[in-house]
């Protein structure tokens, strides 16, 4: 889509674009280029120089057990965060879409946790589930369950998934509800007259018509779980115990800043860039198609 009428001014548009382009170049293209370049270098152990090693950083990663495991960890984490968060939100949105009394209050109470930063969410959940002081941890142990996310990988994973999914429910809820409310009333009425009960209407009309929203949320949740959960991991487990919650984006940070393995970290950055690029591409392809409904 383009404007039919425009101004013809030679210098002004460049001036208007300048701030954004400047910031983009300095803080985006330059670092991205650096990442690409560094991913091909191997710094010497004393940090005095670096050797150009072509793709050996990538080759090394391909054979690195920890890196491959981090992929699996990220996949498991992303899968469960997306599943739990989206299904809880869908359930709540379906209910909120039906009730008449108190719908506004329910909505407000369900969306405000969106404002909680992932890192703060991590602190809050740790406060409840930390094995030595957490109040819920205490009751779990009192009930005979040996809860210990500090030592037990499965427990640690469960905890970060719960916190990450919790943080995202508000967002998903809001979009599901908006999606449901955008479905024309007359379609629901037509289905009711055709004999469909509430559940049947949800299954055969509302849910299928919600598919653009569902797909959109799927991509957003995957991106969220991949990249925005850094704060949760950092506050709750720092990737441990062992490497059991070390998702890819956390590994870029821990290898780069903690491990000082800059070549590998840069190579990991490049791989992640490809992943985000892919996700964005999928999303845009789909947005083009979804206008048909």
């Amino acid at each position: 889509m383009e404007k039919r009428v425009t101004f013809d001014n030679r210098l002004l548009p460049y001036l208007l674009l300048l701030p954004q382009l400047l910031v983009t170049i300095v803080f985006f293209f330059w670092p991205a280029g650096q990442a690409l370049y560094q991913s091909l270098l191997l710094p010497d152990p004393f940090g005095l120089g670096a050797q150009f090693v072509w793709f050996s950083n990538f080759e090394y990663l391909a054979g690195d057990r920890y890196y491959l495991q981090s992929f699996v960890t990220t996949a498991v984490f992303t899968f469960f965060v997306t599943l739990v968060s989206m299904s809880a939100a869908l359930l709540l949105a379906a209910m909120a879409d039906q009730v008449i009394k108190g719908a506004g209050t329910y909505k407000t109470l369900l969306i405000w946790p969106y404002a909680v930063a992932p890192a703060v969410a991590g602190v809050m959940w740790l406060f409840m589930f930390q094995p030595s002081i957490g109040v819920l941890a205490f009751y779990m142990k009192a009930a005979g369950f040996n809860w210990n996310p500090i030592l037990n990988s499965t427990h640690a994973m469960t905890l970060v998934i719960a916190a990450a999914a919790w943080k995202q429910i508000s967002y998903n809820f809001l979009f599901f509800l908006a999606g449901m409310q955008a479905i024309p009333r007359s379609l629901i009425e037509a289905a009711a007259i055709d004999g469909a009960g509430k559940w049947h209407r949800f299954r055969t009309i509302i849910f299928p018509l919600l598919s653009p929203t569902t797909f959109f949320l799927l991509v957003v949740n995957i991106v969220y779980a991949f990249f925005e959960t850094f704060g949760i991991i950092h506050t709750m487990t720092s990737g441990g115990p062992g490497q059991s919650t070390n998702i890819l984006v956390y590994k870029v940070f821990s290898d780069g800043f903690v491990g000082q393995d800059l070549g590998s970290s840069a190579a990991q950055s490049v791989i992640l860039m490809v992943v985000v690029g892919l996700l964005t591409f999928i999303q845009f392809r789909y947005i083009e198609r979804r206008v048909h409904y």
Binding site: A190, A192, D194
Partner: protein
Amino acid sequence: MATISIRDVRKSYGTTEVIHGVSLDVADGEFIVIVGPSGCGKSTLLRMVAGLERISGGTIEIGGRVVNELEPRERDIAMVFQNYALYPHMTVFDNMAYGLRIAGKTKQEIRDRVNKAAAMLQLEPYLERKPRELSGGQRQRVAMGRALVRDPAAFLFDEPLSNLDAKLRVQMRLEIKQMQRSVGTTSLYVTHDQVEAMTLADRLVVMNSGVAEQIDTPMAVYERPATRFVAGFIGSPAMNMLPGTVDRSGIALESGRILAVPEAERLETGRRVLLGVRPEHLKLAAANEATFALGVTAVETLGADTLAHGRFEDSSGDFVARLPGDAKIAAGERLPLAVETGKTHFFDADTGLRI
């Protein structure tokens, strides 16, 4: 197929009552059209019959069964919506089959019934298409097909033709009429278009501000409008209304001038009334036979007819006469006009009721 009986039905939103007690008995197989201006409550009334709106007072029976508390799906009705409400993710076939599948019909029966309806509505080539691949008229047919296959006790139509262009509207109007005749299902049809109302209805319900002002056959409504509102709403151009007082020799207008209207004799003198004359019941007359003369301000030539607009004496309203298309009239003329005998209407000036 069934009768529908609406008794003193009311609808309120909070403390505002929008439908003030409508009663109507629909015979089995009858085609009833509910007509009125927008906001008169006609759609609300239909939606209460469908079960899409709660009934605040009174009862609605379908086939002798009180349905007030029944959900839409328990009422055995089918509805055609203004925007068609076709399920966008389903093919035409699935749209029509949806209700039958829910009703648990066998695959064979579903196929037979959908195919039969599709044949009737000439939809056979489109059964595998999605609604968005259809034209407006085809979508309209699918919406009708969806109602048809269900073979319900009653059809409800909510302004089904208002999204179509003028030409298609005329065609679909005829098709709806023929379809209803051939299946003989009791129908309630809501529209704001008086031509649709007149042509489709066995009986008309004319609604205004939540009240059914008249329920009768189209011709009866046209010939003997029960109220001033009905008189003005049905018929185009609208009936001319002249306020005045009954006098011994006719109607005394506000200007003091007396119109010689023989039909006024039956009315008590001194009563304040509205004299109504339809534009089509005026004819050009010789000056000595004319009831009055109209100062023409504008002329609309429609081909078959010519509409002469004018000011009637000093009364402020527009006065229209519908004259033959070949009448040669120009603005500025004074037309001597006569009212056809027996074609006058009188309404009480205060209540608006027909006298």
